[in-house]
Amino acid sequence: MKNFLIFLLVILVGCSDYLDKEPLALISEDLVFEDPALTDAYLADIYNRVDFPGLRDNPENTNYAMIASMGGEGRSYGGHHPPYGNSTNVITSASGLPGLHYWNYENIRECNNFIEKIAESSLNPQVIEQRSAEVRFIRAYMYFQMVIRYGGVPIVTVVQPLDAPEEDIYIPRNSEKEVYDFIINELDAISQILPSQPLDRGRPSKMAALALNSTAALYAASIAQFGQQQLNGLLGFPSADVKYYAQLSYDASKEIIDSGLHSLYTKYPDPTENFQNLFLDESPDNSEVIMAEVYDYSKNRAHGYTMRAAPHDFSNTFSTMLALYDFTERFEFADGSPGTSISRQQIAAQEWSPDELWNNRDPRFKATIFYPESPWQGGHVHFHSGTLRNGEILTTGTAEDGWPYKASDRNTTRTGLMVRKRTNESIAPTPIFTDDTDHIIFRLGEIYLNLTEAAFYLGRDGEALTTLNLLRERAAMPPKAVIDMDIIQNERLVELSWEDHSYWDIRRWRIAKELLNGVRMQGLQYIFNYDTKKFKITFINGEGIARIFLDQNYYLPLGVERVAENPKLVENPGY
């Protein structure tokens, strides 16, 4: 018996081991900045948390349509999806704005930490310089995402310690001007460091830094031009700043274009095919791409863009990105006549074939929008809600030639138009995310438009017109003879539609209220006349309610909670 007790006592002696556990998956910080592989793994997470495609709060990828919905280009299928809610509801300080807000101070802290720590590490000095510049680019990009939403935000460039004095932690907003200046200065500095061509696709190059610089300065210039100063200068610019920022933007754009490293994509003779492939061609000779986020399904990095955008019957799931007729009117006809030259009354009054209404548009339209009978994956996209045959409207079954009397429910019940841009025809319809088309962050087309607009602000109308016409030429559209702000705006909205620009553009031009407030965007319903092979088109409300865009919406609210947690943060006016 005694032995048994001794035996058990021995077990208890062993208990001291019980407490000495190792965390089996924790890597110490010192190690991270001494091992280049770990530094890169940390950097990879910082890249990922930028959220370039804008899919925050949304693992199902239904937020792709967010900026386009906000800007009136389209809507999401689901009335309960954030893009629809955010774009049609009154925005208040308590709205929350899922998927639209961007307050990424967590990743900014990681950036600051990365920059501070790598500077002290024993890695190769060249690696330190390059990686540090990449992270500064990311930080500038994130500040840009915040300043375009909220105006001035607090600029944090150090890792705040837990025991920092209160005044260093509860910080007030910097002014909008200060934030733009910070971004521009940072980009000036790092464009001296980054290589002209990216080290790897996905990393920023000098040209990417210039591209962001060009865009940020242009935003500043236009806000100085069209906006007002508010909150004692926290928001807005003195109007005298227009030319200053326009010049900065112009210079950056010019440097990119003059470098000769990037050129407009013109690989395909057919302008529609060319414009489609611009977004899909991932080969190095697609030099229009200045920066893109890389995807590869076989390496477990894929997204759901095509799956979410593709029309029903082809796609496996949501077919969620719907276009609104009002915005498609911005696309001119191929001869250069305005998109409204066939009026809505005319459209409603007679039957139309796709050739009469759609196929004769700007080639970019066909590459951007799914409309009735758009070719797709070896078939045609149907939107009609019935077929008129022998005086009767048929909605079930198919004709002897295979014509379905009615399109899939999901295609008939909303706007009758969908988004084709950036969709990839080669993606098979599966319910999992297999789309691995790279996400373009900057492309040369945008820089042309930046240059056009900046030149216009600087009074160099001729240069503005030439640059604009170069883009139109690529699209096989007749050149414009004169230039004005409307033309610049329309061209930009068309060329960059569904690329997450419209909402930001119409806000900085301060035309959003005029375009959106009280407007109920329209959709189309079609009845196919089997005998004439044409469509009878009815205009319908493409949205359940009229949009609201109020003066205060030129800036988004910081939100009740952020203001409550830091008394030094002042909410934007009107909220």
């Binding site: 089996l24 910080e29 990879a44 009335g79 509801n89 996905g202 999992i432 409550a564």
Partner: protein, 1118 residues
């Protein structure tokens, strides 16, 4: 003059036994010495000190040898033997052969033998116990002696022998329960001597309930313990357990943490709920109270074999009633009319659906097509118990099969379980108990997960999501059902196909639990009352999971053209295998002392224990299987294959001490202290000290009551104070570092390089430590008139300090860090429990017992790190410190706007856009601050949380002859259910409206959609744009927050015990039938939602329902 035969027999068996014991003792000794030698050698030769595995093996060798010890077989040959007299008596027999032998039988009032009853000659230590049939035989030193006959649960009786040789004694059931023994931390105690607050549930109550799991068993059985059921999915129908409204308590089965909820109820002897200082002996894990489950042990006597079978039908307690097709199309048209959108259905379509005579215009009930009205649960249990004075055993084998409401029968749960609990008295000083249990649980589900790139979501809830959007206008079946699932109106959904493995694939989960425990107790010679205990627990768990996701078609069929339309395929042709294992080793050593010196009874316990666990998992997946009939990894493609693995270790060491003192059983005092250390915390804050003190005064033992008020059985005043803890925080928060993100899709690509991602674990907290609970409890127990009336009352107050929290509110979001969890916050709980008991017996045969109980508990933020609010509205709405934790903040609704004029004349800007977005049928909100604008400042407290503050129960039992009837009602108040999702927003995301929504809807006049024509209209206007209702109506408000007060008949059971006389003739010793129903009816305050929303189900009716069970069972005892 008396039977020398019997005396001889006793002597013979005693000698045999002694000889046998001696032999065995030497065997064992030899074995132990050798085992020890081997282990010690290995240990000292193994410099790495990694001898744990070795010890594990050796302990098993030891255990195995021990079990195989042929002790039981030898003794059992003499089954007719009268139970051996206990040791002291034998000594007496040897010394004094001049005795009188008395034979007799001990029964209860109904004549049922009381096996194990104690018979002692008064004033001596001479005593015996009755055998299984209640028979006893005792040698008395004096023919005129008095026998003291006692049995747990019965009133002790004294019988004068007065020269008789045969005495039959009938004991009366004790109504006071005063001698009830309850399981407490690391031991047992007489209930009457408890100083803490302990509720118990005993075995009879447990097995009559016939529940499939332990939480359901416990529901309503112990005051202060509340269990909220969340639905009846076979295999995961687990309720949330809460003592006094706290978070999940510590649950121990025979002292060990582990999977307990799905163990076989037939294995359970008793369940104790330790609520105050009584729990404190478990220190760092005891902060939310402790539930002790004790398994059955063998009883001395003839082998009893019990076979029980229980067959149940289960139905949904609430069945959602969706509208038929014509009502659906009508509402859809109305929504589109209001929204100004084109009509999906024409008026003619509505009429065709209403007429119902065109196969293209059906009225389908997808719920009925997918789910059965009832499912079956079947269980069998075979148990055996018995033994001799030296070896007792309890053996149990059980089988349970629980089917589901799925028509496909592809969702089910099955369990088989074995247990062997053995007690062996090895020598007069050494006693060994040995438990070994194994349980196998198999859960099968159709594959309902949405498998994205490495992500899965939804599961069984997917079926309800799909039912919600399945249009009654579409048929649920296809003429050829083998082609695929019938299209239900939303993309490629088909709830019927989705709940069928043939189409979707399967999820198969298999879990195996092995638990073992050996305990050796040794009465230390030299000090009377000192017992040394050594225990070793070894548990393992293995889990295998397999997911197969198949590709299947969804089609619709046109009855006119006879054509199928194919919708896009579902599924991915993926297979995932997962396996994980868990092992824990838990040794424990203790010294226990108990003795009485004159009027003073003293008890002491010293104990030390350690727990060491390790777990690991491995996961692998492949896509594109060659054939869906080959659900094995090898059949998958080598492209896009995934795998993952991980491991974790935990450890804990504790020292425990307890002292008890009792003076004349009148003044009782208990003190405990526990030192706990956990691997989770840094060495400087690893150890915690958790003391408790409790005292009781049995007022009824005072002479002035005892002598004057004999109608008082017991009055006891209790008071306790304890400090306990809670360490439910992630380990290693004291270290800063980076973690590799483990999801296969957590990669980033730069060029052609794939980068794994690492992410900071956040700022470390080098001082992180336990969460502290300080509890105070005052209790009063009373029992009157021999148990006719009684009550127990407890008042409690608990402060929780050092609550782990990220000081997120004390740093603005621009700080940007994942903040360390700091021991920061503090809450306080207070409340009371009261239970009243009435027990009575009318005539000889009718007995009844009614217990009613009420518990109230509410928690407050005592000190909460939060923003420095300066705005009075922010303080009112957001500030936590000083407020109740379960306040629900929202807007206050003021009915609906009935006309456009009401909106136009409304002085308050409700939408912050001059009311241009409002329409008739929208909710009007109160402008609380009177500033004529509705903004966040107009929010206020509108209700309680979802967990009730007030719970009540009524437990009744009636016995008449062999019949028994018991009923258990449970209710709850002071909590809310939020009506959300499709319950508040019909047509949202393709949702089909419910009947109640049809009945109470705002119904637009076809001529003018701003005018309502339904006089019953109580719900906001329905929109046709897929949002269901406007953003205005979606604000969190008391329009949707409903008082969920309910009373539910949780259990009703009718039983019949066949009389002994009758069944004895067919060789049975017991036969009982049982008819049981659970959740039979419910009253709730949910108003128009009550037929759709189950008050106990947090998710409304969007998930597998709470079940109603009807079962028929019988127990046969051989």
């Amino acid at each position: 003059m008396f039977s020398g035969k019997i005396a001889n027999r006793i002597r013979t068996s005693y000698r045999q036994q002694k000889k046998y014991n001696l032999k065995r003792r030497y065997q064992l000794r030899w074995m132990l010495i050798n085992l020890n030698r081997i282990i010690m050698n290995k240990m000292f030769n193994n410099a790495n000190g990694n001898y744990w595995n070795l010890i594990k093996i050796k302990v098993f060798v030891f255990i195995t040898l021990f079990v195989l010890n042929p002790n039981y077989g030898n003794q059992n040959s003499d089954v007719t033997m009268v139970t051996s007299p206990i040791l002291d008596v034998n000594e007496g027999i040897e010394n004094n052969l001049l005795q009188q032998i008395i034979n007799g039988i001990v029964t209860d009032e109904a004549g049922i033998p009381l096996s194990g009853a104690n018979i002692v000659e008064k004033g001596t230590t001479n005593g015996v116990t009755a055998d299984f049939d209640g028979n006893f035989s005792i040698d008395l030193s004096d023919g005129n002696a008095t026998l003291v006959v006692s049995y747990i649960g019965y009133t002790t009786k004294e019988v004068a022998v007065s020269g008789q040789t045969t005495v039959n004694i009938a004991l009366e059931e004790s109504s006071t329960g005063l001698d009830e023994v309850v399981v407490v931390g690391y031991g047992t105690q007489k209930k009457i001597n408890l100083t803490g607050s302990v509720s118990t549930v005993q075995t009879e109550e447990l097995t009559e309930t016939k529940a499939p799991n332990v939480t359901e068993l416990l529901t309503g059985r112990a005051p202060g313990l509340f269990i909220k059921q969340n639905g009846g999915v076979p295999g995961s129908d687990v309720g949330e357990l809460s003592i006094r409204g706290y978070d999940a308590p510590l649950v121990l089965v025979d002292g060990v943490e582990g999977s307990w909820n799905r163990m076989d109820p037939n294995e359970i002897e008793s369940i104790s709920v330790l609520k105050d200082a009584a729990a404190a002996i478990y220190g760092a894990r005891a902060g939310n109270g402790v539930v002790l489950i004790t398994t059955k042990r063998g009883k001395e006597g003839r082998t009893t074999i019990t076979y029980s079978r229980n067959y149940s039908f289960q139905r949904a307690a609430t069945v959602p009633e969706w509208v038929p097709s014509w009502k659906y199309t009508e509402i859809k048209r109305e929504g589109e009319l209001v929204s100004g959108l084109p009509f999906t259905y024409s008026e003619e379509d509505v009429q065709k659906f209403k007429a119902g005579n065109d196969p293209n215009y059906p009225n389908e009930n997808w719920y009925e097509a997918t789910l059965k009205k009832q499912s079956v649960m079947d269980s069998h249990t075979l148990s055996a118990t018995g033994g001799t004075e030296n070896v007792k055993y309890f053996l149990n084998a059980g089988y349970l099969n629980q089917n589901s409401l799925f028509r496909s029968d592809d969702l089910s749960f099955g369990r088989y379980n074995f247990r062997s609990n053995i007690d062996a008295q090895i020598t007069d000083r050494i006693n060994v108990t040995f438990n070994m249990a194994f349980r196998n649980e198999q859960t099968d589900e159709p594959q309902m997960w949405e498998i994205g790139v490495g992500e899965r979501s939804n599961g069984i809830a997917q079926t309800w999501t799909q039912l919600q959007s399945a249009l009654p206008t579409l048929p649920a079946s296809l003429p050829d059902p083998t082609l695929g699932g019938a299209y239900s109106g939303f993309i490629n959904r088909s709830p019927v196909a989705n709940s069928t493995s043939k189409f979707t694939g399967f999820v198969s989960k298999n879990e195996k639990f092995f638990t073992s425990r050996i305990n050796l107790s040794y009465k230390v010679p030299g000090l009377e009352g000192l017992v040394a205990n050594a225990t070793l627990n070894y548990n393992t768990q293995e889990r295998f999971e397999k997911f197969q996701d198949k590709v299947f078609k969804v089609l619709s069929y046109n009855y006119d053209s006879g054509e199928y339309t194919e919708w896009t395929d579902n599924g991915t042709n993926t297979l995932i295998d997962e396996t994980s294992r868990f092992t824990s080793i838990y040794p424990l050593l203790s010294l226990n002392y108990e003795n009485t010196f004159n009027d003073h009874t003293v008890g002491a316990l010293f104990l030390t224990e350690g727990i060491d666990t390790e777990s690991s998992f491995l996961e692998a997946g492949r896509r594109d299987l060659i054939s869906s009939e080959l659900p094995y990894l090898f059949a998958g493609s080598t492209e896009n294959l995934t795998n993952n693995g991980g491991a974790e270790e935990t450890g804990r060491v504790s020292y425990v001490g307890r002292l008890n003192y009792s003076y004349l059983g009148k003044y009782l005092l208990e003190g405990t202290v526990r030192f706990d250390a956990s691997h989770k915390f840094p060495s400087n804050s690893r150890w915690g000290t958790f003391p408790s003190v409790s005292a009781a005064w049995r007022i009824s033992e005072e002479a002035f009551i005892k002598e004057n008020a004999t109608w008082i059985d017991n009055i006891k005043l209790r008071a306790s104070f304890s400090e306990t803890g809670n360490d439910t925080v992630d380990a290693f928060r004291y270290l800063a570092g980076y973690q590799i993100l483990t999801n296969p899709t957590d990669v980033y690509l730069l060029g052609s390089n794939v980068y794994r991602e690492i992410r900071t674990t956040g700022l470390p907290n080098r001082n992180i430590t336990w969460l502290d609970n300080t509890s105070y409890n005052i209790g009063l127990d009373a029992s009157f008139a021999n148990g006719l009336f009684g009550f127990e009352f407890d008042w409690f107050y608990r402060v929780t300090d050092n609550i782990f929290a990220q000081p997120i509110d004390s740093y603005p979001s621009t700080f940007g860090a994942i903040l360390p969890e700091v021991n920061l916050n503090s809450t306080e709980d207070r409340g009371f429990e009261l239970s009243l008991n009435h027990k009575n017996k009318i005539g000889n045969d009718f007995r009844y017992n009614v217990t009613g109980s009420v518990s109230y508990a509410r928690q407050k933020y005592r000190k909460w790190a939060e923003s420095p609010y300066d705005d009075p509205d922010e303080i009112r709405i957001f500030k936590r410190t000083g407020n109740y934790t379960n306040r629900w903040i929202g807007y206050k609704a003021d009915g609906l706007f009935m006309t456009q004029a009401e909106i136009d004349n409304h002085p308050v800007d409700q939408d912050q856009a001059n009311n241009v977005t409002l329409r008739p049928g929208d909710i009007r909100y109160l402008d609380i601050n009177g500033d004529n604008v509705i903004d966040f400042r107009d929010q206020d407290e509108i209700g309680y949380g979802t967990f009730p503050d007030l719970t009540y129960g009524l437990n009744m039992r009636f016995d008449y002859k062999g019949f028994s009837l018991s009923a258990l009602f449970q209710g709850a108040s002071l909590f809310n259910t939020y009506i959300g999702g499709s319950l508040a927003r019909p047509l949202r995301n393709n949702s089909v409206p419910y009947e109640f929504q049809y009945k109470y809807r705002w119904q637009p006049d076809p001529q003018d959609p701003s005018v309502n024509i339904n006089p019953n209209a109580r719900l906001p206007v329905i929109l046709g744009d897929d949002s269901g209702t406007s953003i205005n109506n979606q604000k969190t408000s008391d329009f949707w927050l409903k008082d969920a007060t309910y009373v539910r008949l949780k259990n009703l059971s009718i039983g019949y015990d066949f009389p002994q006389k009758l069944i004895g003739q067919i060789g049975l010793r017991g036969l009982r039938f049982n008819l049981t129903g659970s959740n039979l009816f419910t009253l709730s305050k949910l108003g128009i939602y009550k037929n759709t929303v189950d008050p106990e189900s947090t998710g409304g009716q969007q998930f597998y329902p709470v079940l109603q069970t009807y079962s028929l069972g019988f127990d046969i005892i051989f």
